[in-house]
Symmetry: C2
Subunit: 385 residues, 2 copies
């Protein structure tokens, strides 16, 4: 049986062959512990140092500003819990209504421990209004955490302006860029953030590895984990050398591909949208029309239950209702609800996220399956009647 | 250049070929996110479920008692921080003087937050005396954390008896078994522990993966990380599927090999010891002569600086002074100092830890290099004179 066309790259990506090739020696003969003083340890230490440089270069940072973590969830928790605890005299946190649970949940946990929290609403495109974010900030705001690009709609946030407002209040700024790497350019200086989260498995590196950028000028974070002092004491534990090497190589590929990958992604994404739009009357786009990741297409099928549609085309198309990480099945997408979309529009929304290894023929195949699904053709006929 | 003979398996092991073969499909075509509802997600979910069963079986647990983590450091932190916070009315913690930093450091962090801590001393063999451990426990002891086997000497602790004493006081019992898996049998019911830590890269699985056993009857742990609810809310973040699969396969191999691996390890270890002992007058064993991991040999070379000796034989032997994870260079091994050994004996101590892929010829080669090192022969001649 052929597998369905994978249009769920925002949930996770395959590992790039170049990345797997880079990590392979460290899964095999170069297996040393970077803390060992012998040659096995030295090889591992050198590989980690190179990867740190590659990850730093992807975002215009210095290598010593990169801390490797076990994934983006850990990086988000380290930034949020670590920054809140680093500034004990400031007891207020600002975030948005459309953050990933790995941002919202640690903020809620801090709220339960006595911090004040303000959740900023988004507009109908899923953008955090700069003025609303600025108004939410207070003299005692410790941290503002707003994602760089939304996982469900792809809408890109005005991080630079929000970071400036945060700094004007003396607050620190964190952005979860898990969905951005390899899709849009990342520059921590231009964004003006103090902390930035990367997720390996969202840009062709393996699962179980992430990184947190921490500006050299930012205060030291209070660690979540305590141990033998690796990662300058910010994140102890034997370094996951093969995955770190993979993250470095993936960062290098992402940077080298910035001139080509986004164009390829947008071409495929827009091709899918044009077919669906032309064949399905009433189909509408969710998220910002232009300020959006080039690979993400969130559309609402009229008078359709998206879960049913996905089940119908399950052998041809792998996409998702909302994000993989939310329990969206019951209430529907957190992001689309926060955008104030009508219930029917939320219920009919599907997220398609394309990636590096797709071609136009696969998009055509998937689009054909969607357009000719019985529940879709029935509705289309009734609308056209 | 040939690499030196690797006698540092307690620092980290290579990945077993069978383990790498098991994880390979999940590094390649089966790359789905276990939270996705499509077939890619389903394959990943099924693989994680199988691995959970395999890990549970290694220690006589139920699959739902296994929580995958990013490594043993995280598992130790989750058990210690999580249990301490789960029992807020009990403000006392007990541990030993020879724990790994990933146990000692979170306990020290809790101490800084107001918990009382008692550190139990060890005897000259590096054993935690049962009576001393029991005496350290109080009515308000929340958690007792004592390692199963020491990373530097291999000395195995009387966990079963200490756990019984802890339970008699109403305290919870955690053991860091990072060094035990695949070397000795593990049975959480026989040990009587509430929590047990495993480290993938200490038993032929990759770095960056570990597991925490939490007895079904133990109270729920307060998580360290907050996010999308994976691992029953105990440890959020997209599951590291290839590494989890690897841990499962490594657990299966460890269990299947319990009749053969330990014998092989002890044979090699004792062969090394007999050569060194017979050739180097005054060489002495550190750790317990019998209650010890079958692969670990910690010996003190008389009148020798172990760091110098290691540097001298660096192209023939890869071993370590103390553990890879401690900054032992300056003060010398924490464990050996805690055992009350004389300064010269600590300074001359080397840890050799053998593994599955070594043979007798490699041990002979390494032993020859050690015995014929100039600093060793000079001392031997002066002692024999």
């Amino acid at each position: 049986m052929n597998k369905p066309v994978y249009l769920d790259y925002n949930a996770t990506t395959p590992i790039a062959p170049e990345v797997l090739a880079a990590m392979r020696p460290f899964l095999e003969e170069d297996f040393g512990n970077p803390s060992s003083s012998h040659v096995y340890g030295l090889r591992a230490r050198e590989a980690v140092a190179l990867a740190r440089l590659q990850v730093a270069e992807l975002m215009g940072a210095h290598p010593e500003e990169i801390c490797f973590t076990g994934g983006a969830t850990e990086a988000n928790n380290l930034a949020i819990q670590g920054a809140a605890r680093a500034l004990p005299s400031r007891r207020h946190l600002v975030t948005s209504a459309i953050e990933h649970p790995s941002v919202l949940a640690p903020i809620r946990a801090l709220e339960a421990q006595g911090w004040d929290v303000t959740i900023v609403s988004v507009d109908a495109y899923g953008r955090v209004p700069i003025a609303a974010a600025a108004r939410a900030m207070r003299e005692d705001t410790a941290l503002v955490s707003i994602m760089h690009a939304n996982n469900e709609t792809g809408t890109v946030q005005p991080i630079c302006e929000i970071a400036a407002a945060a700094h004007a209040r003396g607050a620190l700024m964190h952005t979860d860029a898990a969905q951005s790497a390899g899709k849009v350019a990342l520059d921590v200086r231009a964004l003006g953030v103090d902390f930035l989260t990367l997720a390996g498995h969202k840009f062709y590196a393996p699962k179980g590895i992430g990184a947190l950028y921490r500006a050299a000028a930012a205060p030291p974070l209070v660690p979540i984990l305590f141990g033998a002092g690796q990662e300058a004491g910010m994140r102890p534990g034997t370094e996951n050398v093969p995955a770190i090497v993979a993250l470095g190589r993936a960062a290098q590929l992402a940077q080298q591909g910035l001139g080509t990958f986004p164009v390829h992604l947008a071409t495929l994404r827009d091709h899918l949208y044009h077919i669906l739009k032309s064949q399905i009357p009433g189909l509408c786009l969710n998220g910002h029309p232009t300020e959006r990741l080039p690979n993400t297409l969130n559309v609402s099928f009229p008078r359709i239950d998206a879960t049913t549609l996905l089940a119908t085309v399950a052998s041809e198309v792998a996409a998702s209702v909302g994000s993989a990480c939310h329990g969206d099945a019951l209430e529907g997408s957190t992001t689309l609800n926060a955008m104030g979309l009508a219930r029917e529009r939320v219920a009919g929304a599907l997220r398609f996220s394309v990636g590096r290894y797709l071609d136009k023929a696969q998009i055509d195949y998937a689009a054909r399956a969607l357009v000719s699904a019985p529940c879709v053709t029935v509705v289309a006929a009734s609308i056209n009647r």
